[in-house]
């Protein structure tokens, strides 16, 4: 064991130029740095994010003092982060695999509606609240499979295919809910998902589990390897015998699953199902993923980066509210901060220029 480890270390010290790159592949670039390992092996790439987050925390502390720095407020931030966080983890996969999913928000909305249809709730009351959970997950996965099928086998660009789903799922949700907000009346469900465990809200536990599972899946399993490979070079993957279409379909199904999970969480959070749940959440999720350092063209994804991205945005919104800022001012500041965070992050991320990102400031000679 230890022999092997040390061998890997020698191997792993590439010339400085390549360090950022090599380090990004789960190789224990800097042995002992737990953080760098978690962030997909690249501490450098995430350091800008951490700085941005700390900066925000500092601002929060300076402007709101104890109200900001309190366990209660921390939980508020984490609860806010949890729903979008779960969706962003799914989004990390699909983007790493070279795709995109614009339909997550509307699929999440649909899943909350279907799970709260009166007959579903009646059935859940008669049997077990888990029925509602299963229904929500099923809706998410089914929508994801349709996305995946249209993209992988129908050959429709992901942006368009999932945009169609975005529109369509919202319409279906409205139709099913008949435009009402459906209240959750299965008490077992509410008790669990609006409740806490060991003093920490269940939603936060779910978020943590999804993050851990997502990290493991992306960095330690064949599924994750295929995802990175396909996103990195689809032709090479296909010619090496990987079933690219099937995997692509699974990727969207996975994202659909996270949308379903987020739906369950949203039900717990709001105790109501409605077609408006999740509106515009896709943009926030994509922003979090990209700010987190996952390449929009695919081939590289960081779960921890995504988590940091999500935390930055929810902390931001908390700091704003703590300071009683108008939504308009918030919007302007948010725009500036998105750009700032990405620039900071890029400053620390010596990423190799990729030909596919055209107007990038890539120094001549890729």
């Amino acid at each position: 064991m230890s022999e092997n480890d040390s061998a890997v270390e020698t191997v792993d010290a590439p010339p400085p130029a390549a360090a950022g790159v090599a380090g990004s592949h789960g190789g224990p670039a800097k042995p002992g740095s737990v953080f760098s390992r978690l962030s997909g092996g690249s501490m450098t790439r995430s350091i800008g994010l951490v700085i941005a987050l700390l900066g925000l925390v500092l601002i929060g502390f300076l402007t709101a003092g104890d109200r900001f720095v309190s366990v209660g407020n921390l939980l508020v931030i984490l609860r806010l982060a949890s729903v979008i966080g779960v969706i962003s983890i799914g989004m990390t996969f699909v983007i790493t695999g070279g795709g995109i999913d614009l339909s997550v928000g509307s699929v999440m909305g649909l899943s909350t509606v279907v799970a709260t249809l009166s007959w579903v709730q009646a059935f859940a009351k008669d049997s077990h609240w888990i029925v509602m959970v299963l229904v929500a997950l099923l809706v998410g996965v089914a929508a994801g499979f349709i996305n995946g099928f249209v993209v992988a086998y129908g050959g429709v660009v992901a942006f368009i295919a999932t945009m169609a789903m975005l529109v369509g799922a919202r319409g279906l949700a409205e139709l099913l809910a008949n435009r009402t907000t459906q209240i959750v009346n299965v008490n077992g469900f509410k008790a669990v998902f609006a409740g806490s465990l060991l003093g920490i809200p269940v939603l936060i536990w779910i978020f943590a589990l999804v993050v851990a599972g997502g990290w493991f899946l992306l960095n330690r399993t064949t599924f994750g390897r295929r995802t990175v490979a396909i996103g990195g070079n689809v032709d090479a993957s296909r010619l090496a015998g990987i079933n690219v279409k099937r995997h692509t379909m699974y990727l969207y199904a996975l994202t659909g699953l996270t949308a379903g999970i987020a739906g369950v969480m949203m039900l717990g959070r709001t105790t109501a199902g409605t077609s408006t749940h999740g509106t515009l959440i896709e943009l926030d999720a994509i922003a979090a993923v990209v700010v987190g350092g996952t390449l929009l063209v695919g081939g590289r994804g960081s779960i921890m980066g995504t988590v940091l991205g999500v935390l930055i945005f929810s902390t931001l919104s908390n700091v704003f509210t703590q300071n009683n800022m108008s939504t308009s001012v918030q919007a302007i500041a948010k725009g500036a901060i998105i750009v700032g965070a990405v620039m900071l992050q890029q400053r620390f991320a010596n990423r190799p220029t990729k030909k596919a990102v055209p107007p990038a400031p890539a120094p001549a000679g890729a």
Binding site: A17, G26, A229, A236, G241, K354
Partner: protein
């Protein structure tokens, strides 16, 4: 070959160095180019040839050293400055834009335009003239470049270089994507250029070409000039190889081992067809046999390989590996049956360039070490390292990012992928494109070794001598048809060319 005009060198480079954070690509390069000469720059993969010309074309700035142009010290700030001086470059990677027409590509960046509006008539006319000058008047100036073959793209690239008022044209492996006939045409153009007083820096790994058009030679090794201004006529190839590699590379092609009696047919292709590309291809390859497909670029050889492999879906016919039928259009089924393909375009079709080497090596087989979907990267690294060592990759570092490897080494990674996976049938498309002479010999030996171990191999190459030298048996292809089949030693380069020109077997 050419009249060397007097009056001092056109370009002089002294003690040039260039480092990329960590890699010292140039450690001290000297070079002198006279007006109108064809100056060849030789060196192994990674020797620094491309880096050198990128500093001359303004893409890179040197760290130290001097560049003199017409005897004046200069610095070349960017590509535009280089073009302004009269230095035009054909880069190693195809540098054309698929979405633009031939004429638009040629004049990209220096369009014939008034107030931003392109004078299309003039543009097309000048493009036609240039293409005609290059012997390719048949390529329409308005054709979209994306529809052209790689060879024709190369011509466009050359036309672009000529479209400037040029004193020196740098060509970085222009022949790599050309077949022998195209190369002949290229040489004709180069000769014309030099007759017109334009100097050419010519880079190639095909040493026989040097003798056909070169005047003088500079050899780079590990970022340093190890020999310069060698007259072509007085320098034997063996000496060049020694200068480049530091050793003797004898006998490029390994001796063919006679096929064992009763060796089983492993790959059996019957009446395979891809509508409009090729039809009625029959091919049986025995265990231990190397079969080569010879023909011109565009004759459909790559398509045949890809269809056998399931990357394209055949309309008709069957493919079996050791009796197991392969599902048409399914790469997965082909791989499962025991086939492997090393594709024509190493970078775009073969490798995930930003991933570490070991992941490229295990791309087809990482599942093997996984338990319940959980990767075993330790095992993968170990296996990859073993392969790197046995393929003599230096450093044998499985964690290095694949992009940083030289072409020859990248090619070895592809072979390593299938060595690790273990194949009964190996399909090789242009296995030595852009690969230096030393690495070529190693790859040839490796392929022969594989065959000797019982693998059935199919090779496609645009270098006819390579097909003939490496294979046991050769199929001559033209226009999507097999014209002729014979043992490799029963036919020569002329015979092959004759056949493909006539479009039929003699």
């Amino acid at each position: 070959m050419t009249n060397v005009v007097n009056g001092g060198p056109l370009l002089t480079v002294r003690s040039l160095t260039k480092g990329f954070s960590g890699v010292q690509a140039l450690k001290g390069v000297d070079l002198e180019v006279l007006p109108g000469e064809v100056h060849c720059v030789l060196g192994q993969n990674g020797a620094g040839k491309s880096t050198l010309i990128k500093t001359l074309s303004g893409t890179h700035q040197p760290d130290s050293g001097e560049i003199h142009w017409h005897g004046e010290p200069i610095s070349i700030a960017n590509p535009v400055a280089a073009l302004g001086l009269g230095i035009a470059t054909m880069y190693q990677e195809l540098d054309v834009v698929d979405g633009l027409s031939v004429a638009e590509n040629i004049f990209l960046g220096h369009e014939h335009a008034k107030a931003g509006v392109i004078d299309r008539r003039m543009t097309n006319r000048r493009a036609r003239e240039l293409m005609a000058r290059l012997g390719h008047g048949n390529i329409s100036a308005t054709a979209e470049v994306g529809t052209l073959s790689a060879a024709n793209k190369q011509i466009v690239s050359m036309a672009r270089a000529l479209s400037h008022d040029t004193k020196l044209i740098i060509m970085d492996e222009p022949s790599a994507v050309l077949d022998s006939d195209e190369v002949k045409n290229l040489f004709r153009v180069v000769t014309d250029l030099s007759a017109a007083g334009i100097a050419v820096i010519y880079i190639s790994h095909r040493l026989e070409e040097i003798h056909q058009i070169g005047d003088r030679i500079t050899v780079l090794k590990d970022g340093r000039t190890v020999a310069t201004n060698l007259p072509v006529d007085a320098t034997p190839t063996a000496e060049l190889i020694k200068l480049m590699t530091g050793r003797d590379v004898a006998n490029v092609f390994p001796a063919a081992t006679p096929l064992e009696d009763g060796a089983p047919v492993v790959l059996d292709v019957r009446e395979l067809a891809l509508p409009g590309v090729f039809e009625d291809v029959n091919l049986q390859v025995h265990a231990g046999e190397i079969v080569g497909l010879a023909g011109l670029v565009g004759s459909g050889r790559s398509e045949i390989l890809e269809t056998i492999y399931g990357a394209r879906k055949s309309s008709k016919g069957s493919v079996t590996v050791s009796g197991v039928a392969v599902k048409p259009g399914s790469v997965g089924s082909a791989v499962e049956a025991g086939m492997g393909l090393s594709p024509e375009e190493r970078k775009s079709q073969g490798l995930i360039l930003d991933e570490p080497i070991y992941r490229n090596v295990t791309l087809a087989s990482f599942v093997r070490w996984a338990k319940g979907g959980r990767l075993n990267e330790k095992a993968e690294r170990a296996v990859a390292r073993e392969q790197l060592v046995s393929l003599e990759l230096r450093p044998a570092d499985p964690d290095r990012v694949t992009r940083t490897l030289s072409g020859g080494n990248q090619q070895k990674i592809l072979l390593a992928r299938w060595l690790v996976h273990g194949t009964k049938v190996l399909l090789l498309d242009e296995p030595t494109r852009g690969v230096d002479v030393g690495a070529r010999a190693e790859i040839y030996a490796l392929v022969r070794q594989l065959a000797d171990d019982g693998t059935a191999v199919v090779v496609v190459s645009s270098e006819i001598d390579e097909v003939l030298g490496l294979s046991d048996r050769v199929l001559v292809i033209a226009g999507g048809r097999v014209l002729h089949t014979s043992p490799a030693d029963a036919i020569d380069e002329h015979g092959v060319l004759d056949m493909v020109m006539k479009g039929s077997a003699a």
